[in-house]
Symmetry: C2
Subunit: 409 residues, 2 copies
């Protein structure tokens, strides 16, 4: 469907051994998607020369744009430049502007110029150099039949800086003309939705497609179309049919992430929020503060990880904790009410649960999520079945969805 | 160096468009590494039949173990099974045990058995079926010359469940005999370390290797060896040489993550911790509560996202906020002191900063990290240069490293 395809390649043994969790592939996939460029494959591989060569060639065969991150460090296990010299030819060449930048960076930190530092300015003569505003190793760009390969450092800040200042403007000319519309459907299983939409989806015209993106408590229906193949009246018509098929369901049409939707909605309504977390340990709060402008609506949160602090900080009655235990609906409600009053906000959200439990294979944990509004207080109970980290992530997402459901029109 | 190689393939348009951040590849890479199995490539690709076929074949050519996740959903954009039938042959076959399990799961949720549900029990007759304790779609295992390919659902909880109960025991027989030792060096740049260790590292015997894994404020030196090629006396000797070369540096030899190291160390010393967060919004607290047993040492945290709450909850003097602003060393120190007193803990950690700032390309934000101990209170200042999310992640990691430096022997 799209005209332009891209591949992402992330080099580094720290990735294939799970020592660090990738951030670059995720960032680049999102950015390319926003530009309407389809990603064919994303590959992570260790610092291994023959394998790098192989994977670079595969990516070039499949895509007109290949974005490579990593393998440009100063240590002896970084080979990206060598492999690219070998693939694209040329000779080693010291880039004068890069050397100037490296000297400047070192002077700022009061460090001497070492041979290893200087080596960072040496690039294949076949490359076009793209400056790195935040670090030593520059990015390099190579051309092949109908395509470009760009090698960038693996340090996320450096990679993002180069992408934003150098690469995004260049990629605009490749942009694929693919447009997405996202319609979230809450509370309907993917299999039931799929049965209901099968006829509609299989009758979509060439250049228009539906993807099911299920997540916590909802399925995002992502309708993509190529604006050069599908006229806007066709899109309107088909979307109306889709809405008709989904009549009566809880729907949300938005491009925003859930935390951004929450912050935007509260800002528009001049409402505020506070959060009390036990089992999620501050991660719900962290998600919301990841949104620009969160400080307009989010007053604060408290992580009450032990019972005494729940009593001290949220006025949860001692007798209630004794009678029901900390993991109970009454306590989740008392926490939500307590934090709402403490911080004087429109809404209060609370989590309390066990993230690890032994014994039952179908239940590795449980969580109560409490919500306090101006009118009411309630708590919902959920059984968890992942490991500690999975249960925590699940509970964080679920708390956001519970709040979304309260805020939805 | 290792005998057994594995490839990981994650299928799903939601991954290559950046709609969701991968968790499965990261999990599997870590697990395979722990088994001493080397990962050659990890590939993510959209739900695209010809491309899936191509990528599966590449993975099988490179590796004796291929782990595939995703593409097993009930919707019309899920093709993994079709591609595997095509590759490994056989006919469609309804697996009786899987059908039983599906019926049971549906009964539990009071749902009828639909054609789409029933379809989940249909697998290629060439497959060995591995049961999925947490969902409908089973995993399937295929054999090829000297290797196995396993297809698992993409839902993280289901995939992890299958890996833990079915796959890990089978993979033990492939285990590569690779052992890792991790030595963290704090406060030395990777380039300087590399210069110092180059001779040592290039003289390592066959079957022993050094990798540099730089992260926040430290470089992890990861020494890997194949225990069938390198004797234990050689390993001891070489590690002693390494320690000798690093004499005088702040070192830590551990397999633990930093949050786990912090929780373990505080538990051993019978000490406690509390955290006050502004700009990091609860994420430092969240990292610590991700560790099993955190409740023994972590009493609680508070996210004071606006000034009034800093005064109300942490007794930061109003005049101090007026005079120095909330993003300042005195306020970071007052917050650390305030939270330590509020929760009655051995240590208090505080963060305050700007995660977004316009104007200066070399400074997109700044953060002060305050630490209060029984003896002293101090704050350190850091300039940030990523986007909002990157700056937040950086600040979280830095706060953990600041606490690590206080706890290191």
């Amino acid at each position: 469907m799209p005209k332009t395809k891209a591949a992402i390649v992330a080099v580094g043994t720290e990735l294939t051994t799970g020592f660090v969790r990738d951030a670059n592939v995720y960032y680049l996939a999102k950015e390319l998607d926003a530009l309407g460029i389809e990603v064919t494959t994303t590959t992570m591989l260790p610092d291994d020369r023959p394998l790098m060569r192989e994977v670079f060639l595969e990516a070039m065969r499949r895509s007109q744009i290949v974005l490579v991150t990593g393998g440009l460090g100063p240590t002896e296990d970084d080979f990206t430049k060598d492999v690219l010299l070998d693939l694209f030819g040329g000779t080693w060449h010291e880039d004068a502007k890069t050397l100037e930048r490296i000297k400047m960076l070192l002077e700022r930190r009061n460090l001497p110029l070492t041979t290893i530092n200087r080596q960072q300015a040496v690039v294949p003569s076949s490359a076009e150099v793209l400056p790195n505003a935040f670090g030593m190793a520059p990015a390099t760009l190579y051309r092949y039949d109908g395509g470009i390969l760009v090698s960038m450092p693996g340090v996320p800040a450096e990679m993002r800086g180069i992408f934003e200042t150098e690469l995004r403007p260049r990629l605009a000319s490749f942009a694929g003309g693919i447009i997405h519309q996202q319609l979230y459907v809450f509370g309907v299983a993917e299999s039931l939705l799929s049965a209901r939409l099968r006829d509609w989806s299989s009758a979509l015209p060439e250049g228009m497609a539906l993807a099911y993106l299920p997540s916590m408590g909802n399925v995002c229906l992502r309708v993509s179309y190529n604006k050069e193949l599908v006229g806007s009246s066709t899109v309107t018509e088909r979307m109306q049919e889709l809405y008709h098929l989904l009549e009566g369901e809880k729907l949300l049409h938005t491009d925003l992430s859930f935390p951004a939707y929450i912050v935007n909605t509260l800002t528009e309504r001049k409402q505020t929020l506070s959060i009390a977390e036990s089992c999620t340990g501050g991660l719900v709060s962290g998600k919301l503060t990841g949104v620009s402008g969160a400080s307009k609506v989010y007053r604060g949160g408290i992580c009450t990880y032990i019972n005494a602090i729940k009593e001290q900080e949220l006025s949860v009655p001692h007798e209630m904790l004794e009678k029901y235990s900390a993991v109970s609906a009454p306590v989740a409600e008392a926490m939500a009410r307590g934090v709402r009053e403490k911080f004087g906000t429109t809404y209060g959200v609370a989590t309390t649960g066990y993230m690890e439990m032994a014994g039952d294979a179908n239940m590795t944990g449980e969580v109560y999520i409490g919500i306090a509004t101006q009118q009411t207080v309630f708590a919902h109970h959920f059984v968890l079945n992942q490991n500690r980290q999975g249960n925590q992530e699940w509970s964080v997402d679920r708390a956001l969805v519970e709040l979304m459901l309260v805020l939805l029109p």
